[in-house]
Amino acid sequence: MNAPSPHPAAVMHPEVPDDRRVIFENVSKFYGEVLGVNRVTLSIPPGITGLVGPNGSGKTTLMNLIVGLLQPTRGALSVLGVTTDRPEELFRLIGYSTQYDAFPPGMTGYQFVYSFLRVHGFGHAESEAMTWKAIERVGLVEAAGRKVAGYSKGMRQRIKLAQAMAHQPSVLILDEPLNGLDPMARAEVISLFRELAAGGLHVIVSSHILHEVDLISDQVVLLNGGYVVAEGEITGVRDEMEEQHPAQVLIRCDRPSLLASRVFEQDHVVEARIHEDGKGLLVRTRDADQFYLLLNQVVLENGLGIETVMPTDADVHAVYQYLIGSNGEKS
Amino acid sequence: MAVYERSYGRYTGLTTPEWSRFLILPRYAYETVFKSRLFVSFFALCFLMPFVGLLIIYLHHNLSALQFLQLPPEELKRFLPINNEFFWRGLWFQGALSLLLVLFVGPALVSPDLRNNGLPLYLSRPFSRTEYVLGKMSVLLILLSLITWIPGLLLFFFQGYLEGAGWIGDNLGIAGALFAGSWTWILFLSLFALAVSAWVKWKPVARIALMGLFFVLMGFGEALNEILDVWWGTLISAWHVIASIWLSLFGLDPSNDLPPAGASWVALAAGSAIFLWLLYRRIRAYEVVR
């Protein structure tokens, strides 16, 4: 297959060249009749990318496509300029941590990472060094000599991470890497991701915990039913949705009716509702930028006493609600 | 007009007596088990032999019926007397059917609870491991009793009633043999089936394991006797052991191939204990690692 032709409008970080991106061009994957993903066009720059969507939306298919475990039924895919017809190169570039555990029985943590490196073609001394480096990074040095079967869930997650990172790939694909980790381990792993992303890696993380995705991701990809529903920086995505889904903000203040009269003068305000306890105003507006600048004015000119200002639908969670909703799966 | 909102509420009603809760398990098991038409037919057929026995006893005491069927009464009394051997044969037949019944019902008893980690749900309630085992065993104990000693004793008392004149008193040993022999077999089989069900996940495999263990050990026991030229090899075979026990209970002559009754009792008790131990090992809320 030829390298993909230049793709239309790179949405995220246009300054990053194509050969430093993961590019999907109209990719579809079908399992017989069953849909995996349909007509996916993406261009993922380095940094932490959150992959979000209900179960069965195509996240795992997408990840398997990037890793090269699956070939697209249609469309072209390239990872840092390497197309899917050069699998050995691809495997070198990519590290993959799956959602479900699949450990060869009887192996210790050390052996698990080490053997993987040897398979990659590294010599013994090199492999040993890289193995320890990876194990240290995930904080499993004491447990490395024990069998993986005896590990707790959190430890298994971390050893999978070590294995994914050991050969120093440029792209890390991690399926629910924080599952089962206690809060401290979560924080440690998240800071690890940040380190890697700062070093120029692609860290693609799939997760159901939306507020964490919000916190750590530079950009997000939302999937539903095999289609990409949105992609980009969360603020950018939310801004784009303002027409259809006006921004909602709750301002707790001492004179909500005063604020209401001021905002009603604006065209972009769709709705203003006084909160049930009488001490707040819920505003819906099609132009959040204008609204906030107006708010500055109201506070200064009318001496409005503000307690809190809270956008109620500006995060990944709200975007998810609007674009995917609860109909992804009847659970 | 009223609008009703469904919400969570505590239960403040009466509860069932604690001692009887283990019987919930057989009740639920029977709901499933009796849905199968195959099983219902089989279960009905299990009463065929007792019914035949009933007819025979009746015929022994009803001259006109015999004449009607043109059967010579003396021949009948000589050929098929109602004695300990008669009841012993009956137990044999029903005993074999018991094995079949256990193959039907046994394998699905414990494995569905273990397969998806259901035990903690049982044991997080005021319900002990013992109640669980007792409840599961009762599924088999009740069904097996219905086809062994219950019809057996009914026939015994029917015979006694028709024969009159202290026949029961003279033959009380037979009643005892029926009762003890049935229960020995029932308990052993139930423990066996439950242990297999607790350790083997899939029903077909469990059935094969049950059959296999039974018949393989039968052959193996005899082979052992042959090769090593001993008598105790057959103690590992349930068939030999129970045969010996039943013969001794009914006061019939033991066969030379069978191990002596005393040793058989010990072997049976040991086997049952092993199955009980195996069962308890699997019935835990949580395994303790290391």
Binding site: L300, E329 | Y8, T15, E18, R21, N117, L121, Y286
Partner: protein, 329 residues
């Protein structure tokens, strides 16, 4: 029919831990826990291996106490385990159901095993399945349920017999966002009925923060801290979090932060235009708005520090917040 259960509302703590010690496989896991827990919803936190699950299992009687004891609504676990169990509804962390049963049959069985008469059990089973949202699926086999539905089925069997206290172990495990929301909302609803106390054990601080009023943090088999979240939140009134936005690339957000610091306010910038500051005496929110208007910066969010639980937890673990890598103050 025997005595009615769950009728007396015992005043006093839900759970009392009295020097509870538990060893498993020769290793001490719980090392003398002493606490008195009360409240509608109590969070149970701690790193892996701290003993959270062991504590729940000990209260359920799966393991015996090696020393000390514990009381649930005054019933001692060493002597009255049956009564203790009748008061508890347990939702385990792992998959837990009986294969080959429909939802309704499964919940019925569990309700009856808890002592409900057969007629009541079937009524309550239907009720509780509707309540958790499995109404339409209740005639299907639990084995065919999706992950979220299985979690709900676990919750249903825990509720069916109307216990006084619920033990929920990682209830949102593996659920996708809408299912997580539903589960948490359900937990809050249950808590708000006032009929049952909830003990929620989870790794997700967010879950605990959203549902619980009190938190017990375990570490290495001992209690690291036990505190009341409401009180903590009230104490955090002076700590503000702001989220700013100015024109792309104008750098005005950083300039704003600098302005704030010039006023002598302790302030720290975290990820993505988020600022945390401590409002000193004499300074008001209005002053911040003055700065914002001057710089043409939008204050997109202004709120009191909402992650008190994370701080509580990290402090309990004796870990520096900086090390956690969030770049917070």
């Amino acid at each position: 029919m025997s005595h009615p259960i769950n009728q007396t509302t015992t005043p006093g703590p839900v759970i009392e831990l009295d020097g509870l010690q538990v060893s498993l496989g020769g290793r001490p896991i719980l090392k003398g826990l002493k606490a008195s827990l009360s409240g509608r919803c109590i969070g149970l936190l701690g790193p892996n291996g701290a003993g959270k699950t062991t504590l729940l299992h000990t209260l359920l009687g799966f393991y015996p106490a090696n020393g000390g004891t514990a009381r649930l609504f005054g019933h001692d676990i060493r002597t009255e385990m049956r009564s203790v169990r009748s008061l508890i509804g347990y939702m385990p962390e792992n998959d837990a159901f009986v294969a080959g049963m429909t939802g309704i049959r499964f919940v019925r069985l569990m309700a009856e095993l808890s002592g409900l008469p057969s007629s009541q059990a079937i009524e309550r089973a239907h009720e509780v399945l509707f309540y958790v949202g499995l109404g339409e699926a209740r005639y299907r086999e639990v084995g065919t349920y999706s992950l979220g539905m299985k979690q709900l089925a676990k919750l249903a069997q825990a509720l069916a017999h109307g216990p006084k206290v619920l033990f929920l172990d990682e209830p949102t495990n593996g659920l996708d966002p809408p299912a997580r929301e539903r589960m948490l909302k359900l937990i809050r609803d249950i808590r708000d009925t006032g009929e049952v106390h909830v003990i929620l054990s989870s790794h997700l601080l967010r879950d605990v923060e959203e549902c619980c009023e009190e938190v017990l943090v375990l570490k290495n088999g001992q209690i690291a801290t036990y505190c009341n979240l409401e009180e903590e939140r009230r104490a955090n009134r002076k700590f503000l979090e702001l989220e700013l936005r100015a024109e792309r690339g104008s750098g005005e957000e950083a300039a704003f932060a600098a302005d704030v610091e010039k006023l002598g306010v302790e302030c720290a910038v975290s990820a993505r235009q988020r600022i945390k500051l401590v409002l000193p005496e004499g300074m008001e929110v209005r002053d911040l708005y003055q700065l914002a208007a001057a710089r043409n910066v939008q204050i997109r969010r202004l709120d009191y520090k909402r992650d008190s639980l994370e701080d509580i937890f990290l402090k309990a673990m004796e870990m520096d917040t900086e090390v956690a890598g969030h770049g917070r103050v």
